[in-house]
């Protein structure tokens, strides 16, 4: 693997993760639990779509085969997608959406803060722009976890259920392969093992504050680094890609 190929794959991983998460979040638009929260979650989806678009643009450039970000988003199959498994999980109720978001925001803030120091200027630039956004996202998701955990019995139960469902997919965020190894050596990629302890600490504090218990002895689900997904992703893509694939020569 050349470092160019590694960078292409790394960009796809980051771009796909943002795109699929935002796609899921945008399913809430117009259907949120109340107006202000509908607007807030849509805002978050917009930020993450924007980041996904920038990352896929850069992926297309690093690939150097004349494809655009839209070609990458709309004309790859699920086996060619590298989004983290946690992002493709169904939204469930608002508690599950929020707790998924909290786990991801906590990871993303640390991750993009580190990535902003990357030797790759484009990645560093995208990351630097994202820090402020993710800081807000994290404040939003953490405060709702706290509110649900200390709200009503129902909100607490829903939150715990959501956590139980999403928890097995969180560990994969820290998985590394030869792409990471190669790019870490070049000072481009973030060493994910360096982020893990702090993430665990912050999340366990958050869970404790919300009276939640992390499921014990959960097997970590993985596969996305190799383009192996659950059954949900191909449905997401079928919906998302239907129009461009029906009109492959069209411009929109």
């Amino acid at each position: 693997m050349t470092s160019q190929e590694a960078l292409f794959n790394y960009n796809l991983r980051l771009g796909d993760t943002s795109l699929i998460l935002a796609q899921r979040l945008s399913e809430w638009t117009g259907h949120g639990p109340f107006l202000e929260e509908d607007l807030a979650l849509t805002n978050i989806a917009l930020d993450i779509f924007g980041r996904g678009k920038a990352l896929l643009e850069y992926a297309a450039k690093t690939e150097g085969k004349g494809r655009t970000e839209d070609d990458l988003a709309f004309f790859r199959n699920d086996r060619e997608y590298f989004n983290a498994l946690i992002t493709e999980q169904p939204n469930g109720d608002y508690a599950k959406t929020i707790v998924r978001q909290a786990l991801i925001d906590c990871f993303d803030l640390a991750f993009y803060s580190e990535l902003s120091k990357s030797k790759d200027e484009t990645l560093a630039g995208i990351a630097a722009k994202s820090i402020k956004e993710i800081t807000y996202h994290k404040r939003h998701s953490f405060s709702w976890v706290n509110r649900f955990g200390n709200g009503t019995e129902e909100s607490f139960n829903r939150l715990q259920n959501g956590l139980n469902e999403i928890w097995p997919y969180a560990g994969e965020l820290f998985e590394m392969n030869e792409v990471d190894a190669l790019l870490i050596k070049e000072g481009i990629a973030v060493d994910l093992s360096m982020l893990k302890a702090n993430w665990e600490k912050e999340i366990s504090q958050l869970l404790a504050k919300a009276n939640l218990v992390a499921p014990e002895g959960t097997y970590v689900q993985t596969g996305s680094r190799k383009g192996l997904h659950g059954e949900h992703l191909s449905y997401i893509l079928a919906e998302m890609q239907s129009l461009p694939r029906m009109h492959p020569t069209a411009k929109w």
Binding site: G30, E36, T42, E69, N150, G151, L243
Partner: protein, 313 residues
């Protein structure tokens, strides 16, 4: 100095084009009229998120997705400003929502039509937001301050939506034959419903003297409809599309187009609840509201506990 005559003071303010603010005295019928109009407008924004929201997950490019998502969010924001403006008149969000969810309150009938293809997203932005601007532009100078200020912001964003909708239509109209066909089909379906947005013909519409005096209305339904057709025709011709109206032609004498009236029987049917999507729209709003109940309860319970802790400390 004698007793202040509030009614006279109010009238003299209107006569001087002064702004009425929430704390000012106002006649009951003025307050009621405004509450009804502003809350209906707010409901229209909220229900209006649904037909276009229908295409968010299927927008065909990343840019189109960002534009559409931001647009639908803007509409929600409009709903929020307007609910706030209505609340300043002494109603509550819960009361207004209840009226919407039980089907008691009206909202713009146009949103009871379905968005069948991606071209509908363009047609709605261009024609529906365009017609809304034409109807609403005078409200920026309406007599009630909070409403006028909300409308300044809303009209600015609606113009932006209209331009984006037209841009989307240009991509289709100058795109592949299938895209052009999609654009024409959308125009065919949205043309008459859009013309209905200006309301029934003047002969059937009771002339609202108050609406003019209160600076809520300036032009009649038919005048606005005529202006809309005149404004839209060059845009349609530029796209190489046609309107589904064999009678439409330029009339040199009146320096405007002659055109066919929409089907007012259909208009009344949709208002009565028999449009293609009335039931879905209301069901969708009810579903989100009901499924969000535990979220709102949790937020209230949490805030209450925080207050108690604060007071106990």
């Amino acid at each position: 100095m004698g007793v202040i005559n509030f009614e006279e003071l109010f009238e003299s303010k209107l006569a001087k084009n002064d702004i009425i603010e929430p704390k000012d005295w106002m006649p009951d019928n003025y307050r009621k009229h405004l509450i009804r109009q502003i809350s209906q407008h707010a409901h229209s924004e909220i229900v209006g998120m649904l037909p276009e929201g229908n295409w968010i997950t299927r927008a065909p490019s990343l840019r189109a997705k960002l534009v559409l998502l931001a647009k639908v969010q803007d509409e929600g924001g409009h709903g929020l400003y307007l609910y706030t403006a209505a609340e300043s008149l002494g109603t509550s969000r819960d009361e207004m929502l209840d009226a919407l969810l039980t089907g008691k309150a009206k909202y713009s009938s146009i949103f009871n039509y379905p968005t069948l293809t991606w071209a509908d997203v363009g047609a709605v932005g261009w024609l529906v937001d365009g017609a809304a601007i034409m109807n609403q532009v005078m409200l920026q100078r309406t007599s009630y301050g909070p409403y006028a200020r909300a409308m300044v912001r809303i009209c600015k964003e609606e113009s932006f939506h209209q331009r984006q909708g037209y841009e989307l239509m240009t991509h289709l109209a100058f795109g592949t034959p299938a895209q052009k066909e999609m654009a024409q089909d959308a125009l065919n379906r949205w043309w008459y419903p859009t013309l209905m947005m200006f309301g029934p013909p003047d002969v059937e519409s009771p002339n609202s003297e108050n609406a003019i005096k209160w600076r809520i209305k300036r032009e009649t339904n038919d005048e606005l409809r005529q202006r809309f057709v005149n404004q839209s025709m060059p845009q349609i011709e530029y796209l190489g599309l046609t309107v589904p109206d064999k009678n439409l032609k330029w009339n040199e004498t009146k320096k405007g187009y002659d055109f066919s009236e929409p089907d007012w029987t259909e208009f009344k049917a949709v208002i009565k609840g028999n449009g293609p999507c009335n039931k879905e729209r209301l069901a969708s709003r009810n579903k989100s509201h009901n499924e969000g109940a535990w979220v709102r309860e949790a937020a209230t319970a949490y805030a209450k506990k925080q207050n108690e802790n604060y007071e106990a400390a």
